[in-house]
Symmetry: C2
Subunit: 765 residues, 2 copies
Amino acid sequence: MKQYIKHHPWHIIEEGFDAHLNKISESLCSIGNGRMGQRANFEEHYSGETLQGTYLAGVYYPDKTRVGWWKNGYPEYFAKVLNAPNIIGIDVTINGTRLDLAHCNIKSFNRTLDMKAGLLNRNFVATMPNGVTVTVSAQRLFSVVDDECAAIEYSLQTDVDATVSVKPFVDGDVSNADSNYAEKFWNILQTVSDIKSSYVLAETKKTQFRVCAAFKSSVKVDTQNIEAQHYSNATSAGCTYAFALAAHTTAVIYKFCTVTTSQNYNADALDGKAIVNLQRIVEKGYVKMVDEQKQAWFKKWTTSDIVIEGDVAAQQGIRFNIFQLNQTYTGLDERLNIGPKGFTGEKYGGSTYWDTEAYCIPFYLSTANQAVSRNLLVYRYKHLQKAIENAAKLGFKNGAALYPMVTMNGEECHNEWEITFEEIHRNGAIAYAIYNYINYTSDIDYLAEYGLEVLIGIARFWAQRVNYSTHKKKYVMLGVTGPNEYENNVNNNWYTNYLASWCLKYTIEAIDYVKSNHKKAFKQIVATTTFDAKVETTLWKDIIKKMYYPVDKELNIILQQEGYLDKEQILVADLPAADRPLNQKWSWDRILRSCFIKQADVLQGIYFFQDEFDNDTITRNFDFYEKRTVHESSLSPCVHSILACRIGRIDKAYEMYLRTARLDLDDYNNDTEDGCHTTSMAGTWMSIVEGFGGMLVRNNVLHFNPLIPAQWKSLSFKITYRRALLQVTIEGKKVTIENQSGQTIQLSVNSTLHQLKAMETYSNN
Amino acid sequence: MKQYIKHHPWHIIEEGFDAHLNKISESLCSIGNGRMGQRANFEEHYSGETLQGTYLAGVYYPDKTRVGWWKNGYPEYFAKVLNAPNIIGIDVTINGTRLDLAHCNIKSFNRTLDMKAGLLNRNFVATMPNGVTVTVSAQRLFSVVDDECAAIEYSLQTDVDATVSVKPFVDGDVSNADSNYAEKFWNILQTVSDIKSSYVLAETKKTQFRVCAAFKSSVKVDTQNIEAQHYSNATSAGCTYAFALAAHTTAVIYKFCTVTTSQNYNADALDGKAIVNLQRIVEKGYVKMVDEQKQAWFKKWTTSDIVIEGDVAAQQGIRFNIFQLNQTYTGLDERLNIGPKGFTGEKYGGSTYWDTEAYCIPFYLSTANQAVSRNLLVYRYKHLQKAIENAAKLGFKNGAALYPMVTMNGEECHNEWEITFEEIHRNGAIAYAIYNYINYTSDIDYLAEYGLEVLIGIARFWAQRVNYSTHKKKYVMLGVTGPNEYENNVNNNWYTNYLASWCLKYTIEAIDYVKSNHKKAFKQIVATTTFDAKVETTLWKDIIKKMYYPVDKELNIILQQEGYLDKEQILVADLPAADRPLNQKWSWDRILRSCFIKQADVLQGIYFFQDEFDNDTITRNFDFYEKRTVHESSLSPCVHSILACRIGRIDKAYEMYLRTARLDLDDYNNDTEDGCHTTSMAGTWMSIVEGFGGMLVRNNVLHFNPLIPAQWKSLSFKITYRRALLQVTIEGKKVTIENQSGQTIQLSVNSTLHQLKAMETYSNN
């Protein structure tokens, strides 16, 4: 755990420079716009510890799978989020010496991410080895308005008259830190630099994504424009500005950047499109771009901000989480998804985990236009054929679909058998997200258009994945890994069995709805899926009726899986501190046979289906399992925080909240340097809104049962619900809900129903 | 399956040349002498498909572990059996063209392994691209008398007068086909060629094994000795003989080779020792070396031969298996063990699996001096400290020992968690081998010298590896993989539980014996192991008493593991042929959740402890499990063959025997090109002697209950039992046992006791 980031409600501030923290700050201060993003690397050359990272959403490389012992069914490749051509580089040479903070005496340094405006600022004063003291002020943005574009303002002064050479460039000679076989992933096709632009045209190996990374720059000293010398070589292109700089005079470099990719244009039009983009933003100018950026972020915050009074650290934490989510995914492109590290690092590869459905969708449902979460659902719809192929590869038939554990284009690219083949509950999360979306938005017709086909594929998978045990006279599900990945290949994981059975039930309901309300669509779906309603649903109903659920009657609890109580029962409280975290201190087999739980498993199921369990049941299971849970997944504390609120355990809820909110800012797991835990940030948001806010949609009514920590003066959040924008404020017991929209809305606050008209405010005090 | 090897009782014959089969023949015709070995690669250059392999027992490289997802506890390295400097090479150039069978028109080709004599012969007539037809006759041996030495006789004729250049060489520029990161594993320290010898001094990276691979050669045309031109370069050394060869005149090349290693000599003495070796064998001469080789192999066959009359294929199969075992391991060096591929390939790495204890020890017990199997036990004794460290790495304490799944020097080097950490029954096999050795030899004092310390380490492991289930009120063993590797991470594998409990019992017995009979040694062992007899054995007795054994009362069978009957019960007979072998056709998860069994599991336990189960129990369990067993491990059919004999199922026994005996000769699994399945060959031997011969030692009496297939006219085998050499011959119901030694021996044949005096013959007819 590190605590060097200054607390501030809107800014992430690094004050002073510690080279060992640089990679962490690079992660934290990453900026992006849903289309592309960039770690907070320096513009000028830096020879110290750094992880260079420029990422383009959806552009990946299928790195050959690395595995010691191949298992049948493993995918051939592991998709790598690619480090793309570097567009931010600006080399600075003063009196013949290249500016490199690794070799300077740094007098002052400040790197600040302005989350309100979506701007990254960096200022430093440093004395170079040649004795020149240079003052630099750099600002950059990745435009959320014009998402193929970015811009940098880089100004510099020297303390003496100096000869300066400034070289903005774009460079395709980049590599991934985590490549499996130390290969480079890009072929450079062309490098050009002329008066219109400097660009590198590059293509990924194997996947053949083509990109044009281009920029146009200008340098001004006082009012004088400096002339550029253009150059290009095998991998990069740029221009050099050489000039004399009088002491304490400011040289300002503007670098307008754009990246166009073959995802959006014909491969041979990329340079032309890039030049058009550059013309547009150069004409617009840097100041206007900043202005637009601020306005756009103001708008995002209007619908998604959370205000915590009385706890700046908690305030900064939640805003950081919201900021990262908003700059990772905008919902504008249905081919994209939310990678586990967003645009902050390359680790874990792939872009899509079940995190999207289980954690991120609730965030986007409440804070963005409903088209955003709909796009996330459609993304999976478009991968349905691949999911069917994936299931077929594992021996499933007849259109059964198994969505991958990790994917870029719908193909599986993870390769641990106990996860890839067995952590199949992810399939249920995808069905649950459809339910969740419809429950929240009331857009039930989504079923006819996309949802039902996906549900049928998933239901078919479950129906084939269980088998009837003649021994138990029940359907059982053997060889699975539940959300608690500290158990592998178990039989009858309750969560998976429950979710599978629910999927079958929900699919039958969906069939009934579409059949009755969208006859034509239903006919089409039946034809497409060669669905035999009678035979298939008969089996499904039998499975629903005879599914096996492990429970312990003596303790009156649900059993995480069969045999769980045969384990030695030790509580987390009794674990020596030196043994934590288990995943670093214990061997894998010891973890597996212990009773310790990585993340919510039974409790994940109770969270999903809260209305199906009474408070006593939740309390009993919470008390049993939470005591055995080590929360070594970033996805764990939020679910516990929400359930703790539900059963009135506010201290436990606050403890769990603290574990999730500042995970990256305080480098809790000592891994922020690899990038941020982007998807789990949505869990932090959930623990605020669904936990402390107690928000839940039940029978088309929005419910709130708020309960906030005594430490907080107030909690205030904004949510969008069925086109109504609500500002919810909680101060102790006082709840105020302001309807900032033109919609009338039905609300339940602490179990009392209210009608809230347009622009009306409810208060219980 | 391929059937190109000609059937012959003593020879492995490849007639004609098919380049696609070359790698298979290279494996099958490998020769070795326990110290080193060589695939049947050609002496002359060959540019076609080949796997070059020269192997030195115990010389390995710790290749960096390759793994996609690291699990805590994984070893840092995976030991690779090294391809060592090539000593067999003889380059031949005729009229300026290099002889290369890949570019010749091959008129005739014969490669024959003479198993009786331990010689590899190769003869061919081939027309080279330059029109010259060359006749080559090559023979080589790896001396079993002088195990650092090998020799080659290579003679050649041409059909026209020709200018010939012959270049014998030794080359250190070799690589492993299976290196994880495409590295080379040798540093070449020195290359020398002069009148005394040509040699390469090389050292392995990381492990720093130093070897001197040397040779001395001579070339004679008619009676004329050709003069050598010596050369050496960066990686190789050799000499060139240039001469005119008249048509149909024979040039004979003798190449005397030796390899000395730092395992046996000071690193700086290797070249000197090599030169001494060369002087000795050159002086001895090739003919005498061949003679000695024949005599030595004659002696080996005297104690280990098996004769099957009426079935040449079966005869060739069993001799091939015996030959491979005898040339892989001689028992002369207690640091060595039996690698899964012997000297026939580099795959699987490591040298020691539980195969040694469970399969190989019975073979060496019966066919070699008892010192040989004793050395195999002492090998594990010497690794005890490493086994204790290995267990400690996984969280075990107080001198608990877990022997590795795969090892070179006692350190674990396998890395699949479900195997490395969980296939712990291997520990039991090591204890069982001690019991087996003592039971067979009556050398019970081995316990005091070495055995007990190992047993205590193993017993401690089991005592910590079980836990008491308050739920079951029994000791349970969670998260294991049994011998059937088509189940992973199961709870209460019956075989493992039974074996663990047996280990505890046997250790207590061993303690009692040593305590009573070797007071001083016992005191020493107690001190070394800080053994607390009272506390520890009290716990062990409690575990023995309360161990949980899964059974099914309805079917009256042992359960392979808890929950086995929840699986869909399908029989192998009902599997579509297209689905076989499952390990190539089904995904891993499907295999895991199926009821199908890779190799004997419950039946392995019944085999080990045959006397503890009556025939009805064995029959019930055999019938249940064999029907579900796919025998996709080379170690499976033999155990089934033995038990089938035990319960009178001779047809099943013969079917199982056929699966194992010609596994490599007929390339059953399409993988012989990688090398032979050396350790499973001992299982073939077991199925003959323990199965058809029905041999068993019970209460110090050697029992036979023979039963042979109707297809066989007779079966005859030799075994050494407590210094008595017996020739057992079975013809139908007739059993003849000839005591070829000076020892009197007690025998039971078909449950009737007999005393067989020195040189006496028993017959039941």
